[in-house]
């Protein structure tokens, strides 16, 4: 029987990945992913994970490229990254999915610069929303660990690469009890990788050739169809996982007290824990609130969301990233899932660049929502006065200076104070 032990999230993921027996691991360091690959380098060097090649590459672009070469040669391949690193491998991400290579990658979600910021939000993974990878979002370290076991099986079953997204620092650096999936059931759950296409001198194939307009649409549609297969596969894998490991992890969505709810807050990632406490507190005050975590953002669980949210009156989509010039990113997909259903949807942008999403801020936001005073796109804890002053400064002079510096001066964080 597995025993929970106090583990840092990164270490739990690294040890679980090792039990999935990857044959090639490539890594380029970026905060807050570093602890994962550091731990894996030790596990490989010690011989605990063998045979496995650990390759220290010169960039994230190379990391994904090495994974592409390894996966195409029939090896189970893994890497991890975050933030700028994910963007730096953007071209290779599209390539890996286009080639149908079942690479698994941890994304320790982090903000994107400028201004450079090492803390958590979902701007990185959301920016690569359309790269053809499955995107799973873990709500806890236990789930982050478990999702990797499921991710390898899903990837190899569907010939699709899978990203397991876990909130940087919030999860990667948090120490909490985690039951590591044990080796024997992992081996039973995850059979050896049998590639659908492989570079082999015994049976030479040409991979990655040019495709013109006569077939490009069909090839791209196949990628869409494969994500559709993944949508069917994810709940099956989660059920099988629960049967073998004795705990629920993964799946497409998770609901918390949504039955009879007037309002449901929809979110991705670790904030789901905060939302559950918030729901309990509001319910205790008589409010009919529920929470819903989207575990699989790509493929997007349209049917499950529609079923879970159709009887509610209001949906608040809490997003840790946004599309500049429009607003929510997840919101658009949620609205599409609820097409024709009489539900009000609002977007709340929260937790950017590591700003804590506190229950008190969420209570204040919900109070406004109940009063009908919530903006359709609401930025949680935004200091709008500060923004107005900065806009005015730039209207006044030709050289207003860098925004980040001006705002830090206003806040008194830069010692010289406002200019």
């Amino acid at each position: 029987m597995a025993v929970a032990s106090q583990l840092e999230g990164s270490l739990a993921v690294a040890r679980t990945v090792a039990r999935c027996r990857p044959q090639v691991i490539c890594a380029y360091p970026i905060t807050p992913q570093t602890h994962i690959v550091e731990a894996l380098s030790r596990i490989v060097a010690s011989g605990e994970l063998a045979p496995c090649e650990f390759v220290n590459v010169e960039s994230e672009f190379a990391a994904m490229s090495v994974a592409i070469g390894a996966s195409a040669t029939g090896a189970r391949a893994y890497t991890a990254t975050a933030s700028q690193g994910l963007l730096y491998m953007a071209e290779a991400l599209f390539n890996a999915s286009g080639l149908g290579l079942p690479i698994v990658m941890t994304v320790a979600n982090r903000a994107i610069g400028a201004p450079i910021n090492i803390w958590n939000d979902h701007s990185d993974a959301m920016a690569l929303r359309d790269c053809g990878w499955v995107q799973l979002y873990a709500t806890s370290n236990q789930e982050a660990a478990d999702m990797h076991v499921q991710a390898f099986r899903l990837a190899e079953r569907c010939s699709l690469p899978v990203m397991v997204c876990m909130d940087g620092f919030v999860l990667t650096h948090a120490v909490e009890p985690v039951e590591l999936p044990e080796q024997e059931p992992v081996d039973a759950y995850l059979p050896p990788f049998r590639p659908r296409q492989v570079l082999d001198p015994e049976d030479p194939v040409t991979m990655g050739a040019l495709v013109g307009p006569e077939a490009y649409t069909e090839v791209r549609y196949l990628a869409h169809a494969k994500q559709g297969e993944a949508l069917d596969e994810i709940p099956v894998l989660a059920t099988d996982f629960a049967a073998r490991f004795g705990r629920a992890s993964g799946g497409l969505i998770e609901t918390y007290r949504c039955e009879g709810a007037d309002t449901v807050i929809v979110a991705l990632g670790s904030v789901f824990g905060t939302l559950q406490e918030l729901v309990d507190e509001r319910r205790a005050q008589g409010a009919r609130l529920g929470a819903l975590a989207i575990k699989s953002f790509r493929p997007f669980p349209v049917g499950e969301l529609r079923a879970a949210l159709s009887s509610t009156r209001g949906v608040i989509v809490l997003e840790r990233a946004f599309s500049v010039g429009v607003g929510g990113i997840v919101t658009g997909d949620v609205r599409a899932a609820l097409a024709g259903v009489d539900v009000d949807t609002a977007t709340v942008i929260a937790g950017l660049g590591g700003r804590a999403i506190t229950r008190s801020s969420l209570h204040a936001m919900l109070d406004r929502h109940e009063q009908g005073a919530l903006q359709p796109v609401h930025f949680l804890d935004l200091d709008i006065d500060l923004v107005e002053r900065e806009l005015a400064r730039h209207r006044d002079g030709e050289r207003g200076g860098p925004h980040a510096e001006n705002i830090l001066r206003e806040l008194g964080i830069v010692a010289a104070g406002p200019v």
Binding site: V55, I68, T73
Partner: protein
Amino acid sequence: MSEVRYYQTGTFASGNRLLADEAASAQADPGRANAITKGHRACQGCGEALGARYALDAALAAAGGRVIAANATGCLEVFSTPFPESSWRLPWIHSLFANAPAVATGIAAALRAQGRTDIRVVGQGGDGGTVDIGLACLSGMFERGDDVLYLCYDNEAYMNTGVQRSAATPPAARTATTEPLPGHPGNAFGQGKNLPLIAMAHEIPYVATATVAELRDLERKVERAMELHGPRYIHVLVPCPLGWGSEPRETIEVARLAKETGLFPVFEAEGGEVTGVSPIRRLRPVEDYLRRQRRYAHLFADGTGAETIARLQRTADRNIERFGLLDGEHGSQRRPLLEVLAEADRGPQ
């Protein structure tokens, strides 16, 4: 009755039936791999198609047919693989423009993990994919000591996109982005990268240059590279009739002139030290090379190109001195080709 004598033509033509078996080209073997086979869509006179075939067939012969290739985006990739057709008869992958060396690293890592080290890995690309956009991945592959032979087919510009300048474009050459205009004689002097020397600075096991004019020299260098493990780099000059404005039938001759003028030094190095050069057999002025190519036509349009031609001659002179191209001062570790040919000239035993 007079003795019948066979004369070596001196062209280094491959497949010469008079050669001893050990000196024969892989192309002379009826069981040759034909790594890149007929039906591809390279232009007439394409140096890259020729160089790639010889290099890969030699690699396959050396590895008993067990080679996997990773290819950068570029002419070689496009002309060989419009789906559903493929000219490749070995397992071959194209991923991106900049990552062929890293994909090759991944293949080599997978093979090591799988215990299939009898299979060898080749990465290849043009000068753009190697010297410019792929340099970071190539340098990383070199410094880690990954077991990959990388072949750069250098035609000195971005030919696949319509002849734009690369960091391998020589001074004064006309490209679509270095048009000769008054005061601007084509590509600037004092720019560009010498990738064989950059590769040598990594102190990798083997670095060599070659041209498609001396295909058996190219084959021997591939064979030598295949005897070694770790990162190996071969830089092959491959004339491009389209981009250079040369006659398709003169590809071999233009490549030979690049070497015989000293503009393209042909040498090899092990562990960062030059171990051998191919000496110039009949020194020619750079003008003989330049006049064959319309990319240099502006130098001869009126009298104003004389100074530019003189600068290019100084570049060649410096190469000749630096690499000892006239006296062959570095010698050759292997048996000189001319000696082999002379022996063959005496006829079969």
